[in-house]
Amino acid sequence: MEVEQVEVYEFLRRFVPFKNLPEATLAALSRQVEISYYKADTQILEVGDAVSDLCIVRSGAVEIYRRNGELYNRMSEGGLFAYQSLLMQQKVRFPVKAIEDCLIYFIPEAAFRALFDEHEEFADFFEVGDQSRLRQAVSRREDANELLTSRITALISREPVLISSAATVQQAAGLMTDEGVSSLLILQTEASDPNESEESFDRRQALVSASDGSEHKVCGIITDRDLRTRVVSQGLPFDTPVEEIMSQGLVMINSDEYVFEAMLTMLRTNVHHLPVLKKGRPVGVIALSDLVRYESRNSLFVVSSIFRQQTVEELASLYGDVQASFVRMVNEDANSRMVGSAMAVIGRSFKQRLLELGEEKFGPPPVPYCFMALGSMARDEQLIVTDQDNAMILDDSFDPKLHDEYFRELAAFVSDGLAACGYSYCTGDVMATNRQWRQPKSVWEQYFIDWIDNPTPESLLNSNIFFDLDGVWGRTEWADQLQALISRRARRSQRFLACMARNALNRTPPLGFFKTFVMEQDGQHKNSINLKRRGTAPLADLIRVHALAVGSRAQNSFDRLDDVIEAEILPPGRGPDLRDAMEFISRVRTRHQALDIEAEQEPDNNIEPENMSHFERRNLKEAFQILSDAQKFLKFRYQPNRAN
């Protein structure tokens, strides 16, 4: 005869969210309870433990800590814990310790889920609102690693040391020795005119106030390495002014950015010292070595080993390392932004190294060129399953008869090399090996002008990809100039935006009439959902349209969304919802791919909903619903006869 423990039943009945459950349900639940005793000071849940129960403090008290040891919460009789991990199907992130002798009741996962499914009110207790739960599901704060949670401010140990550009290198070396620093920021001797027109509209300027109140611009940086390589080894006199040897065109970063942004910036620009700005004032300089402790052996090291490889074969041998660093990041709960950026940096590094090797093999380029990345890599949203989308901008002095042979061979070398490294050939032939996408700068400009000024949905159907572009090698400023052209022109062409909007609606989220999943019906992926085709890609398409409409020059979807939200063209709240939806679908996608890799299967973008947890399914439906609503809004905004 099945019977419930009266004491367990009576206890649960005293506390929300159990008190409002029907009597029979609560009786059945109390039959499922498991119990365990913990002496004071023993660990109840350790970080990394698998969670299989909802935990309730029956007597005694427990403390919940953050990973850094900080106290997060203290609970006594009736306190519930471990449900976040249970809901998200994650391992324990916050350790729990008994601080008094404790009796803990456990509600097994299956029983908890059954209640969650069948009793709205019970579910509501664990999720304040649907959207906020999705937000919680993707919240960065709780489950990211240190690279992501730490702001650059945390790395700054001292104010930057400054020196005038007129000072000599000997004075500079003396100052560095006295101050014990490895870099100096160089100040322009002349005070800068506050009304001076900005030479580059997006380059961040750093200003320092002198004691007389005049403002001086930071115009360069020198490092101890510069003294070695540019002064001593060149035999320059010690009275050489620092401005002659300093690095100009400073790459800088804002103090409120995350540490991983700093890491990516250094990797992308290949600098080892980054001046940090706060409201336009330099507040410190961080060095690559400051970051190494945050990033011990993953993407950073893959990137540095890419640049050490001497042949395509050696590069191809890094494939396993790339996969391993991907899996590691996913398992550390890095968010999709971080995974996407790191994978894009790795992809970019492969291209850069291959171009270096190519230029060694075929000799220096006959005319300057720029190698571009397109699509997901340009957006910093690259994952592990990806094909190569690239193109070349050639100098306008390019003469096909004289020069094309060189660039054709170089493009083929890079493309074959990328294929060997795991980046499959682009099925749409968007590669620099295709003559159409290996053209002088003026031709490229005309391409974009045509697309934007004379758009048809057909002509734009396959050119979406060119509106996510990023210079990787050579004259990367040409790519910037194309971006500027696009941003100036696109926002003015309502017809172009309408065509882009129409194309962005081609791929719909896999939701049926009754909010059921609609699965692929044929092919080898029958009964599965392609998360890229049905999720992240249409989201990126939609965000791109809005971003072009507000003249954003950002390439990354999250950055674009920031610009779009700032421009207030979306109904309130929709922007953050889109961000959460993008993040959630991307996470499911990366987690799925990481699992495939760990199971030594070929990773893909297809998931079978029946293999997903209930919570994942529910959140995924919500994310798809957000996409669906956003598509409706886009359709409404760009409907043919609507005056904008």
Binding site: E7, Y37, C102
Partner: protein
């Protein structure tokens, strides 16, 4: 100091696995044959690996011969987890008069037992639930003697099995020596080793007493607490069973 006990006791204590083998041979009734045949764990088994079953009876009185069993509660558990899901509870026809005094204690009334089965009918399930597990009781003077007497009356043969007594484990701690005159002079009181009072010392919650199922659960929790307090999960079961 505990490591001395098993050695000393080993001489007097029957080796349970061996006794179960013999009893499986000797027992007449198939239910008992099967019960013993399931065997008994080795005395060196670490506590962490012992499958326990907490057991509590409510009876019509204190004499196994004169009084009968009114209800039985069983709660299987290990040191790590107590499983409510597998708990069992039976109300039985005691086959003996139900006195007013006992009704006051356990709250099971004449009308409750009117339709209740005789122990014999639930015996297969009861023995099945005890099979292969070590019984845990609070005060071993009741459950095992009552069950043995009831079986003798019904099957013609009794039953024995090893028992862990949580009350005796409390007594080991608090009744090591009788209180000396000095302690008495200083007003020390004898520490109560009743179930509810013992539980309080371990910060275990108050459970209403004298419901067989609740009391069984209460003893299961108490044993977990006692082991957490002063034994190691690696200690052998022989340290605490009888």
């Amino acid at each position: 100091m505990f490591h001395l006990i098993p050695k000393e006791k080993a001489k007097v204590q029957p080796e349970w696995p061996e006794r179960f083998r013999q009893l499986a041979e000797q027992a007449e009734h198939p239910l008992l044959k099967s019960f013993y045949g399931a065997g008994c764990i080795h005395p060196d088994t670490p506590l962490a690996q012992v499958p326990f079953v907490a057991m509590d009876f409510e009876t019509t009185g204190l004499s196994p011969q004169k009084n009968g069993i009114v209800s039985i509660g069983l709660v299987p558990f290990t040191l790590k987890r107590i499983y409510c899901r597998q708990s069992r509870h039976w109300i039985l026809d005691p086959g003996k008069p139900l006195h007013e005094e006992s009704v006051v204690i356990h709250g099971i009334t004449h009308s409750d037992i009117d339709d209740a089965p005789d122990l014999r009918r639930i015996l297969p399930q009861l023995l099945e639930a005890l099979k292969g597990r070590v019984a845990v009781v609070h005060h071993r003077g009741i459950e095992q003697p009552f069950l043995s007497a009831a079986l003798k009356a019904r099957l013609g043969e009794g039953v024995i099995f090893p028992v862990v007594d949580t009350m005796e484990l409390e007594a080991r701690l608090h009744r090591h020596h009788p209180l000396g005159w000095l302690a008495r002079m200083l007003g020390k009181k004898i520490v109560s080793i009743r179930l509810a009072d013992s539980r309080t010392r371990y910060n275990l919650p108050f459970y209403a007493p004298h419901h067989a199922l609740t009391d069984a659960l209460a003893s299961a929790e108490l044993l977990q607490a006692q082991v957490a307090d002063r034994f190691s999960p690696d200690d052998p079961i022989s340290l605490i069973w009888h």
